[in-house]
């Protein structure tokens, strides 16, 4: 193939740099929204079974995963993507099934060993993500030792910081259940770390994250419904759902907030790969801690040691995230991503230009992006459902610092707006 002219090559390099910066920004925004999703769930009493709790969250996730794409670009682009790369429907459903099982395992893990031990264990997903990214998708190939050090050192730093934060917010493990809780947390980490294989597969072949999540959620909902009916039984499950109507809003809101975070995570995975995108998204633990300390007064009356652990853990996590953010892919590494994309394109018979356009966040063909009647119906149904659930919801009697809750919500909304505008300007949400 002849070499590109210098001017064209320079434009391409500038485009890649802006996509890398965008991906890193998306990783940080993902951390904020994934961490914020824990807040509404804290308002729910722990009497509901983990399976039912996970099922209700997935209802919220399902509504968000269809209504948000309908609002942003309309669902017509989903049809265009499926026409181009139909195999990705299977990959998306598989990833959704994995997410549902991992999410349920985390609830068992938190109940048996507490968030303190569970969180760092399932955060090992980023190390697994780096491994799969390197092994299967040519990530960090030709990256040079400085970038290797930046990514691996950053991930190790974040893991140590997560462990310190977890120790600081320690809970007592339920007697006789520690082994099961640790296995559940590790299992969730392995499931989530491996779930990024389908993610990367989709984005290397040009699929839009907004299309991927609509099929992903079919896998989530189907798996959770089957698990819930099989484990709880249809009639007891129904009674439990009816009994949980006063907290359903908070759980579904948690699911909705989580989807916004996950959407940024998907864009981060698309533009900086799983080896960098996933560790950045794991800054969600810092945001979860901010909500815990300032809004729910979790460390009130804690010892000096606890505050030192929190400060040290937060600093380590921030340094790790910064190290990864500064280790963006070089042009040479990016060309090895292209090799992996070409391999996928050839295997599944996808048009070369579609793959290239998707990787570079450019338009492909003359696809319409206007919203249809179906899109407006999806948005309306979701809004009405949340309004009804909010009307039925009860705020539990808890000591909540509303001022801090408002401040953190404003910070999250500011990140949503700035990152959303950056995504729109650079890629039109492609």
């Amino acid at each position: 193939m002849p070499a590109a002219p210098p001017a064209q090559s320079s434009t391409h390099a500038t485009r890649l740099r802006s996509l890398q910066a965008l991906g890193i920004f998306c990783g940080f925004a993902a951390g904020a929204w994934l961490g914020g999703a824990e807040a509404p769930i804290k308002l729910v009493n722990p009497d509901i079974s983990p399976i039912t709790l996970s099922l209700i969250m997935v209802y919220g996730v399902f509504l968000a995963r269809w209504s948000v794409p309908a609002l942003i670009r309309g669902t017509s682009h989903v049809r265009n993507d499926v026409r181009q790369a139909p195999h990705l429907v299977v990959w998306a459903v598989l990833a959704g099934c994995m997410w549902a099982v991992a999410n349920t395992l985390t609830i068992y893990a938190i109940r048996n060993v507490g968030l303190s031990i569970a969180f760092p264990l399932w955060n090992t997903n980023s190390l697994l993500g780096i491994f799969w990214g390197f092994l299967l998708f040519n990530e960090l190939h030709y990256a040079g030792w400085k970038r290797w050090l930046g990514v691996l050192g950053g991930a190790a730093c974040m893991f140590s910081g997560a462990a310190l934060l977890a120790i600081a917010s320690a809970h007592q493990a339920a007697p006789g259940k520690a082994a099961g809780g640790i296995l559940a947390a590790l299992g969730a980490g392995i499931l989530w770390g491996t779930m990024y294989i389908p993610y990367r597969k989709a984005y290397l072949t040009g699929m839009n994250p907004l299309s991927f999540i609509t099929f992903f959620t079919v896998g989530e909902l189907a798996t959770m419904t089957v698990l819930a009916i099989a484990y709880r039984g249809a009639t007891p499950l129904w009674h439990e759902l009816i009994g949980a109507k006063s907290v359903m809003f908070w759980l579904m809101l948690g699911g909705f907030v989580w989807v916004l975070g996950d959407l940024f995570q998907q864009y981060a995975t698309k533009y900086v790969g799983i080896s960098r995108g996933i560790p950045l998204s794991n800054t969600n633990q810092l945001w979860g801690l901010l909500w815990g300390i300032f809004v729910f007064h979790e460390l009130r009356g804690g010892s000096h040691t606890i505050y030192v652990q929190v400060a040290g853990g937060s600093l380590l996590m921030a340094l790790g995230a910064l190290s990864i953010a500064l280790s963006s892919a070089t042009a040479r590494e990016h060309s090895s991503w292209q090799d992996a994309a070409d391999r996928e394109g050839n295997r599944y018979g996808i048009e070369h230009e579609y793959v290239r356009a998707g990787m570079e966040g450019r338009a492909y063909g003359a696809a319409t992006t206007s919203r249809s009647f179906l899109d407006w119906l999806l948005i309306l149904v979701t809004t009405v459902m949340f309004a009804i659930l909010a009307f039925m919801a009860k705020l539990p009697h808890m000591d909540i610092a509303l001022g801090w809750a408002a401040a953190l919500t404003i910070a999250m909304l500011a990140l949503l707006a700035t990152c959303g505008i950056a995504l729109w300007r650079t890629t039109r949400f492609r």
């Binding site: 990959w91 991992a102 799969w132 099961g180 296995l183």
Partner: protein, 40 residues
Amino acid sequence: MSPSKTDGSRNLFHVIATDLHFWIPFAVLVGGLFLLDKLR
């Protein structure tokens, strides 16, 4: 369904089934379900 569509679907599933990348997450999913069943 037209013959060409059937052939296309068969071909698609054949390509997925012979892709090693598919079996890694699939095996992990089965393992996760097994673990969940043991823990509940």
